[in-house]
């Protein structure tokens, strides 16, 4: 049954949904170990989707965020430069953002490779976000809801750690670029 399931799902990419994707990933890895040839099983990196834990690389207070939703229309998930909604799983004791809050974040580093205009591909070591907004639980008045596009431009923190890709410029995240230590 495991073999049948594994053969049905293509490696790393799921046809059905987020949960089944994780399941098939598990199946593949366990199959690999069973075959005894771990080296041939190259890790296939995919989109950032519901359940993905991401590192927070600014000083907003959060340390780790679990993705709830990717705001991109793409049903497969978020990539480098996209905005996600996440739940704060780990935070520093006295920070702007507390544990359990729902935040918006921009993906600044993704393990999945992203194609650039010159034809090359870039990939990073981990999945990381910068917090750009906190979701409020209060119900907004109908007038305010008329604003269609909410721009998530302003990061909540004041510092950004680690390398930041040029893709931020296309996504209009200029503040993040300004705060960045290294630009790739």
């Amino acid at each position: 049954m495991a073999a049948a399931l594994a053969s049905r799902f293509s490696r790393g990419r799921s046809l059905i949904g987020s949960l089944s994707n994780a399941f098939s990933g598990l199946m593949n890895s366990s199959n690999g170990i069973m075959n005894g040839n771990i080296l041939s099983q190259q890790q296939q990196r995919t989109f950032i989707q519901m359940g993905t834990t991401l590192k927070v690389v600014d000083n907003s207070g959060a340390k780790e965020v679990k993705c709830i939703q990717s705001l991109k229309a793409n049903k497969k998930g978020a990539r480098l430069g996209d905005i996600i909604v996440g739940s704060v799983k780990e935070a520093i004791p006295k920070g702007k953002v507390k544990k359990g809050k729902v935040v918006y974040g921009v993906v600044v580093r993704a393990a999945m490779q992203k194609g650039r205009v010159d034809g090359s591909q870039v990939k990073f070591d981990d999945n990381a976000i910068v917090v750009v907004g906190i979701k409020e639980k209060k119900k907004k008045k109908p007038e305010e809801n008329k604003k269609n596009k909410v721009e998530f431009n302003q990061p909540t923190g004041t510092r950004v750690f680690g390398p930041v890709p040029h893709e931020m410029r296309n996504k209009k995240q200029l503040k993040i670029l300004a705060l960045a230590q290294h630009m790739v």
Binding site: L39, Q42, R109, Q113, D118, G119, S120, Q121, V122, K123, F124, D125, D126, G162, P163, P165, Q181, H182, V184
Partner: protein
């Protein structure tokens, strides 16, 4: 557009090829193809992997010190476009390439040639150490052996 070198095998990476991996310390690793990328992921040291340029340079197999390499240095200042400069540069590239490959071939040829001085030294050493296989030690060339002929005849006569 810039031509870069593969981190693993040191071959040139042309636009549209390869993958760039950015580590969290902001160090960028560029790979020309998945072969190099996979070797990197296996944590192999390019200086120990025989087919890479790093190995060949480290083990003296290929030429490393030459003035022709100076022309290929990375320059961060953009040049103002001048048609003549561009034309001359293109001609120069071809010429330098020819000279460099000729020198590299010569280097390899010299390396493969049998080293005469070394061979002579080894041979003399061997001869001096193991001359005993050819001659007995401490013996001069001509040896005198005295054979008493007359005495033997006399003995025979006496015995009778």
């Amino acid at each position: 557009m810039r031509l870069v070198k593969c981190w693993f095998c040191s071959s040139t990476i042309y636009p549209g090829h390869g993958i760039q991996f950015v580590r969290n310390d902001a160090k960028i690793f560029r790979f020309c193809r998945s072969k190099c990328h996979k070797n990197f992921k296996m944590k192999r040291n390019p200086r120990k992997v025989k087919w890479t340029k790093a190995f060949r340079a480290a083990h003296g197999k290929d030429m490393t010190k030459d003035k022709t390499f100076e022309f290929e240095k990375k320059r961060n200042r953009p040049e103002r476009y001048d048609r003549n400069v561009t034309e001359n540069t293109l001609k120069a590239i071809k010429k330098i390439d020819k000279i460099r490959s000729a020198r590299e071939a010569k280097h390899i040829e010299n390396r493969l040639k049998p080293n005469k001085q070394k061979k002579f030294n080894e041979d003399t050493k061997e001869l001096n150490n193991q001359i005993s296989l050819v001659r007995a030690p401490g013996v001069s060339e001509k040896v005198k052996v005295v054979v008493p002929k007359e005495k033997s005849i006399q003995n025979e006569a006496m015995e009778e």
